[in-house]
């Protein structure tokens, strides 16, 4: 986490590299933020050794594997709701690395379709999901991205404790 001499960490720098010097739009910003955290989460899931998927930093919280399942479930459900499709089966019962990596990738297959089809015209659109009535489509997706970043924040510490450098801290 001390990976930058500059002030801001990976979430912004990832977007900066995507955007380059071009002006960006709101839809492009969501895509960049989504792809940044997708890249980190995918690499983290792949990089953590299989025998560490049962590790939890303290007894009363999720294991590394359960965090991956939770992220996959949250992303799959959110993107399915935005797409108007049936949500995937929960990954909550899975414990093996291969299964969980696969579940995470499956959630990205759903989300990729949603994210890649976004345009700035979607800024005024709403979606219905869960309680609370219609929500801004963009706000729902930003909520998912924020959640994935929080969970990545847990994963990064788990990895550090196990002596594994998280993907966002790898040399660029």
């Amino acid at each position: 986490m001390n990976r930058f001499s500059t002030l801001i960490s990976g979430v912004v720098l990832a977007a900066s590299s995507v955007f380059g010097q071009q002006a960006v739009t709101e839809a492009a910003a969501i895509k960049a933020a989504y792809n940044g955290i997708k890249n980190n989460l995918t690499k983290a899931a792949e990089k953590m050794p299989d025998d560490q998927y049962s590790f939890k930093a303290s007894p009363d919280i999720r294991t590394f594997g359960a965090l991956i399942a939770h992220i996959a479930d949250a992303q799959g459900r959110t993107c399915a709701a935005v797409a108007g499709s049936t949500p995937p089966q929960s990954a909550g019962s899975k414990t093996a690395k291969a299964e969980l990596v696969e579940a995470l990738k499956a959630s990205y297959e759903i989300c990729d379709g949603v994210i890649n089809s976004l345009s700035d015209e979607d800024a005024t659109k709403t979606v219905s999901m869960g309680r609370g009535g219609p929500r801004s489509k963009f706000a729902v997706l930003w909520g998912m991205i924020a959640h994935s970043n929080e969970e990545y924040g847990y994963l990064a510490v788990y990895m550090r404790i196990k002596g594994v450098v998280p993907p966002s801290s790898e040399p660029r």
Partner: protein, 173 residues
Amino acid sequence: MKRYKGIIAAMTIASAGAFAQDNPLSNGTKSLYGMVKGNLVKAAEKMPEENYSFKPTPDVRSFGQLVGHVADAQIVFCSAVKGEQKQSNVEKTKTAKADLVAALKDAISYCDAVYNSMTDSAAADKVKFFGSDRPKLTILEFNVAHDNEHYGNIVTYMRLKGLVPPSSENAGR
């Protein structure tokens, strides 16, 4: 982290609260910001002073440095949107809990005004940030994502010290 039976965690639900008839887009961002800023302040206040120097491994930030980093980032993000382009150096200059909590609160107070004044009609207005012209609302959303990443770090530090993080205090409600 097991605070909800459902899989959709707090900030997704928070964004769902952003369905006000007016300004649904910017209200969504405000809602997410409101949630994470509250958790960050409560976490900073709850962690005992002696644990501010705690770091789970030698090569990462201490708890106090995380708080300072978040405070610094808030100023950078929000001042860009405000057109002031400020810098902040709390992480490198403060170590005492009282100083860091105060700096975090100051930064959040500064950002509050920026978030509160945002509207959907101003969301796409561009300002210079990290070398690019970016929509104002986008910068505020990146701030939320950044806050959440580091709140995730903070949560795990607290758990390692046997503390329940603020977002889990009402688990089972």
